[in-house]
Amino acid sequence: MHHGGVRIFDRHPRLRWAVPGAAAAVILAGAAVGTAGVSADSGLPAKTAGELLVDLQGATPQAMSGTVSYLADLGIPALPTGTSGGSSDLTSLASGTHTLRVWTDGAGKSRVDLLGERSEYDVIQNGKDVWVWDSSAVSAQHAVLTKDGAHEADTTAMQVPSTPQEAADLVLANLDPTTEVSVSGAGSVAGRPVYDLVLAPRQSGSKVARVVLSVDSETATPLRVQVFSSATQAPALYVGFTSVDFGTPDASVFDFTPPANATVTEMGGPDGSAGEAPQSNTAPPTVVGDGWTRVLVAAMPRPATAAASDASSGSQDLMTMLDSLPTVSGSWGSGHVLDGTLFTAILTDDGRIAVGAVTAQQVESALAAG
């Protein structure tokens, strides 16, 4: 056996090259299987959009954990974050590919980690306690919720119309004039068979080509969301599990005690909402259009003069970036336009901002109307 093999290679030395050749073939085959995943035909029974919506509502919050891949190609210029690469800052989510780890026990405890190359940005909810941990800044923020997550889940459950079927019909009836809703089965996410709920705008001018929500066939848990732009082939926004486990995660995952050398700040306010920037002095935004072609017109939260005085270098960078955007003008005035893959935003020189998932022309006409 052993000798025979060696003798063959000795008599026909050329045959030796078959060994690395076979190794290469095995590697390529393994890689192909690895990327393609389990093949499609999962034999799922066909479902209508209504049935799928009923499943979605009926789904109880699941204990689960897994790894989520996040990809954003919004076509907006990279935000000046100060550091290059490996950032786990939340602003980095505006573009690029990221990996998140998520855990939830389905009853008020959850944790989301945004992984940087050698850093982490974690949001941990353990009952009433919410911790935000930023390893780059060695800082932890803490907030206490007035009601814990379990109660919150109850109230959302109560807002649902009397029967799930009624609610599903209501949603579909509301969607129908503007949206084509369809279901395609036999996909798979993280190795689990899913139903794809496809929402496509009937209206023209929308930058969104379609939204695909992939729902786990067994637990009715959404496992992937893809937003396709009419401008690009690949999804402009992709959030999906690469691996998922429906077991209850270890309770210690949700424990967080800030390390001794960390800066700990308490986020004030009993509802933990005080962390948000105060924007009360700006006029309420107006909405022009309906459905997918809705355009939001609002006064800009930044009064150019006041902000300039205490602007940090970061916001100055932002100003420079805004100024470098192409300009447009029309009957509504003039301003800078940010033409993304999924949305268009126009910042007018007189301090208004108009945003919509539509073409620049439609945002302009909304500005003229609003």
């Binding site: 000795d10 060994v19 060695v138 390390p259």
Partner: protein, 289 residues
């Protein structure tokens, strides 16, 4: 031509345990050769100097807050000096060490004419190649261990050792932290051993040790450069070095093993492919000098 393979093989099959002993002897003499070379001793000094430089630079500079990484974390726990040193040296110094060793492995022996004498020893070329590869792997172990041990020692000396704050903000005991450091070192060693596979193949192709060293250095450096070009992201999972920095994932709580697992697979694929390529070439090679 290598018609000499059959006779020793038949002999070996009768030997059993003594064959293991003879291979052990061969490996030991190979390691003595590696460790004894003045050039390699200097190389180890260079590897050891990086954690020392990091620690001293941190000690004399004023502490800066913000943008915390392994380097700044070292000021609160000396253990991180070892991790910072690994992070830095994995890009050039450690691959360079592997390149130097693999240049000597076959090409060096062919160049000095000692390879011919090695082949007269009653051991098949296959066994000789495997012993050479094992010696390269042990060389990688020595290099990484030197970096890590010197890093922990100098870091402990200048900044002290204590409970380890992981990237997830969880604090674990020093023992747990050191255990994770050992795992990180093993993962780095696995990557370098795969690079040694490429080194062995290149070393079989040429009789010029310097050429082999330069080629291996260029290959590893080129892969780092390609890995840095984001437009080539489709290529990145195929690059040997792409998952190397993933050892940082061992310092998350719970440990994140997805990328490390993929990294080990890529390492294994490269090692199997290039060692078998080296074997195919070496079996037919005429040893002229």
């Amino acid at each position: 031509m290598s018609a000499s393979e059959t006779a020793p093989v038949v002999e070996q099959s009768r030997r059993g345990p003594s064959a293991v002993r003879s291979h052990g002897r061969m490996l030991r003499s190979e390691l003595r050769l590696i460790v004894g070379r003045r050039r390699n001793q200097m190389g180890l000094l260079v590897l050891a100097s990086v954690p020392v430089m990091i620690a001293i630079a941190l000690k004399v500079s004023t502490p800066r807050r913000g943008n915390n990484d392994f380097i700044t974390a070292a000021t609160s726990n000396g253990m991180f000096v070892a991790l910072a040193a690994l992070t830095i040296e994995i890009a050039l110094f450690l691959p360079l060490a592997v390149a130097v060793l693999s240049g000597d492995a076959i090409a060096g022996e062919a160049n000095t004419g000692t390879l011919r004498y090695l082949l007269t020893v009653p051991v098949t070329r296959t066994r000789l190649l495997l012993v050479k590869y094992a010696a390269l792997a042990i060389g990688a172990v020595i290099g990484v261990v030197v970096v890590v041990v010197v890093g922990v020692l100098i870091g402990g000396l200048l900044f002290g050792l204590g409970p380890v704050t992981l990237l997830s903000g969880t604090q674990v005991s020093l023992a747990e932290g050191l255990w994770r450091l050992v795992l990180a070192a093993l993962y780095v060693i696995a990557g370098l051993t795969a690079l040694a596979g490429i080194g062995l193949f290149v070393s079989v192709l040429t009789e010029q040790p310097i050429a082999a060293m330069i080629a291996v250095t260029i290959i590893s450096t080129a892969m780092w450069i390609l890995d840095g070009i984001s437009q080539l992201d489709w290529l990145h999972p195929w690059l040997l070095v792409h998952y190397w920095p993933a050892f940082a994932d061992l310092f998350r709580q719970p440990m994140y093993l997805d990328e490390i697992g993929r990294g080990l697979l890529v390492n294994l694929a490269y090692a199997v492919l290039f060692v078998s390529l080296a074997w195919a070439r070496f079996g037919r090679k005429d040893i002229t000098s």
